[in-house]
Symmetry: C3
């Protein structure tokens, strides 16, 4: 596959709000890294570690910070945040190869559902009663929108997304394939050795500009709602349990799981495979490294971790065995200290 | 969305088997917690920590234990297990907003498939040859039922569930969206640096009253079956490998993974993100805390754990480095003890 | 369900390339383990621990190593790698109960898509513009094939698989239900407290004979491609991030997650729930035990691990508390050693 898009450097500068140093008529056909870019490609310099490649870059132009202008041997797009510039350019070069616009004849749309202008409804999509789809939204083939579920403007659903009933989704939200929003939270009342299902009567609310990765699941609340605030980005295979609240502009990497009723603050960065126990509160600005298990509240911003580091299995087995005796070894250190103190006393 | 259901307190008492103290004609329109409930809402008191809210609750009625009757300032529904009463009431207030009953014209049902009475088959459902769907079952849009797969009575499949061929599912089972039951177990024979696929010839058997969360996967057995006994509740994103056996009324939280041929007992509680290695046996009544890794059999009921606790990254890095030297530090404690003993001897 | 296949022992010997010792006309109706097999069943002896069952096996025949021939009381299929022989026989006994061959009338195939000979396209499948499906491929109901995506010969897609646009897949690949290939990698540029999406312009390339488990996700590259080489086997619920490269004939167990731009060598074995951080390189022949977290490059083949071992929660809580003080306890050991040295000096 090759769909080639072309932009003049001048147009790119205008589109991303950069100051152009060089020839506005240079044609750019793609993006690459500063060390690998070739002719007709645009590179970017965001990480100082890559500055060493700048003098010899074969790119036609480079997005970089104004302070680097003098060292740039080719045309330059100057921006205070070159990485943001790179992000904006990737969006210009992106190609979406989806099928025809409009409502596919195989889609099953309930007469009471409301569709905004310029909505695309793919093949085999099902939209239940009372649902509402914002203008300019795209629903890929096989998506399901439950009763009374609301999508904001310009929502983009890749194929085979499932939205249960009573879910509310903001504007410009992107939902990747296989994501499931609004399934029942995991709630049961134990009774004589069995479990009675607690019907989950709450909903799910996603703010604007949220992105949800492939096969990620966000459960509906038990009584109140599960809430994902504006600008939150969720990677693939994440589990968000009932009544969780995620603060705005927090990013969560793949395979993380957040247990019921926990609150994560704004501007947090949650690493891959992290687990957060239930009913906890994490303040704004918390960073969790990969596979950390959180079992108590976090009240100070900062970086937190748990687990142990990788090592050869042979030494690991010995150390793990010692870990299981750790409290005893600490007692033996204390006894040694006590004996030492008694020795000193004797002297 | 707002679908309001209303019940008189007298009717609720009858439906959940509670003893009513108060006015049977009070109208209840919803449920809430004891501290947040308002007029026309029913609250419950199951956790003694919430008893302090009872004197000032604004709920119209409260489900509580008979021993708390005297302290209840409003109407009461008395039950020995108030949390179970709450669960039963949530079921009464639940609303399912799915589409029309009956068989949707877009469904593809093989002529040899058998459908019980009052079965609903949603849009784009595919049911293969020889499958059997129990009376009163609901199959949401986009579900796939493989050849000779059997569903019991009143099964409820949310949209986009995939059942491979030869799967057997009990009565009143709930399968959430994106769950996949009966995919091949992960089996390969190494041969000259490559892997030869071992076709998975067994099936999957789910008992009655099992619930399976969104995007959970349960693989078919290699030769025999993978078995999930009655009343097991599986949360989202769980992986159950081939030939696993889960005992009745065990609950497993999200993101857990159970490796091939392991047996989990009855009435176990498996925390989120837990991993259980292959070919192990866990007895009845085992509780595993979140993200525990199980690498040997468990023969005594009780609570088990592994891993380390969360701490600031800075101190964690130091401690993790020490963990990798742990066995050496233990040797140095021993040497100190030995020297101490020699000192004593000298004296 | 019971579809019975029958083979004569002579035919089986020919089909798997084994040397037959015994009666070629014996009829085999199924496979079982050496201790559980009954009449008309074929067993195998690959693990020496099971040799004790050989003298009393009730199987009609056993696949085993030529060196075991004398001890086998029944007909034998002799092979240097009996486990590979078992794998080949399972494939002969496998039955696929899918629906009719051909293109289902409900499928939506873009006129510009190219289909090879003997392709099966199930109900509700959507194939977008410019896609290409190799001869003999099977696409189960509800699958989605994005624009310009290419499938090799004899690909087998179980129901509800989603392939985004621009994905390239080799011959004889098996994709299980709910797997998603080509979703956007997780890339955002931070800018004034918000995140700007980095469009993911690369693709995904899967080699020949790759198998992808149910609900596994493989993201497209940011600029270059995500690459899975020939013969790689991925279990269920795995996450492969953008620009990851997995070497040939590596196997990865369920629930593992590999972060962006990391490279895993050939012939590696990655355990369940393993996490690999981003931008790392693992050499060929690395084995990682379950739930290990990899945070640095691995340059030597071998077995590696992290984490701690399971123990009763009561002692674990004590040991975990000590772990958080570990660096301090090490300092106290050092002080004890120092004092001991000073004592000796004094003497």
């Amino acid at each position: 596959m090759k769909v080639v898009k072309r932009f003049s450097l001048g147009e790119l500068a205008t589109r991303i709000g950069a100051t152009l140093e060089g020839d506005p008529d240079v044609v750019i056909e793609g993006l690459s890294t500063i060390d690998e870019a070739g002719p007709a490609q645009l590179a970017f310099l965001a990480n100082p570690a890559y500055a060493k490649f700048l003098p010899t870059t074969r790119a036609s132009a480079v997005i970089l910070h104004p302070s680097m202008k003098a060292q740039c041997p080719v045309s330059a797009l100057l921006m205070p945040n070159p990485y943001a510039g790179y992000a904006l350019v990737t969006q210009l070069f992106a190609v979406r190869l989806e099928g025809d616009r409009g409502i596919h004849p195989s889609a099953v749309v309930h007469p009471s559902a409301q569709l905004g202008k310029n909505v695309t409804v793919g093949a085999n999509v099902v939209i239940e009663a009372g649902a509402s789809i914002g203008a300019g939204s795209y629903l890929g083939p096989g998506c399901y929108v439950g009763g009374h579920t609301i999508l904001g403007e310009a929502a983009y659903l890749y194929p085979n997304v499932t939205l249960y009933e009573g879910v509310s989704i903001g504007a410009r939200v992107i939902l990747h394939a296989g994501s499931v929003i609004g399934a029942d939270g995991f709630g049961f009342a134990p009774d004589k050795g069995r479990f009675i299902k607690i019907a989950q009567l709450g909903g799910v609310v996603l703010g604007d500009d949220v992105e949800v990765g492939a096969n990620t699941t966000i459960d509906r609340g038990a009584l109140g709602d599960t809430v994902i605030e504006d600008g939150v980005k969720l990677d693939n295979q994440i589990q968000i349990a009932h009544n969780v609240h995620i603060g705005a502009h927090t990013v969560i990497a793949a395979c993380a799981g957040i247990s019921g009723s926990s609150r994560v603050g704004k501007h947090c960065m949650i690493g891959g495979g992290v687990g957060i126990a239930g009913h906890l509160t994490l303040c704004d600005g918390v960073h969790l490294t990969g596979m950390t298990l959180v079992t108590h509240d976090i009240k100070e911003p900062g970086v937190y971790s748990s687990g142990t580091a990788i090592e050869p299995n042979k030494s690991w087995r010995r150390n793990v065995a010692r870990f299981r005796q750790l409290d005893q070894w600490v007692q033996r250190i204390r006894e040694l200290e006590l004996k030492g103190a008694q020795e000193l006393k004797k002297e």
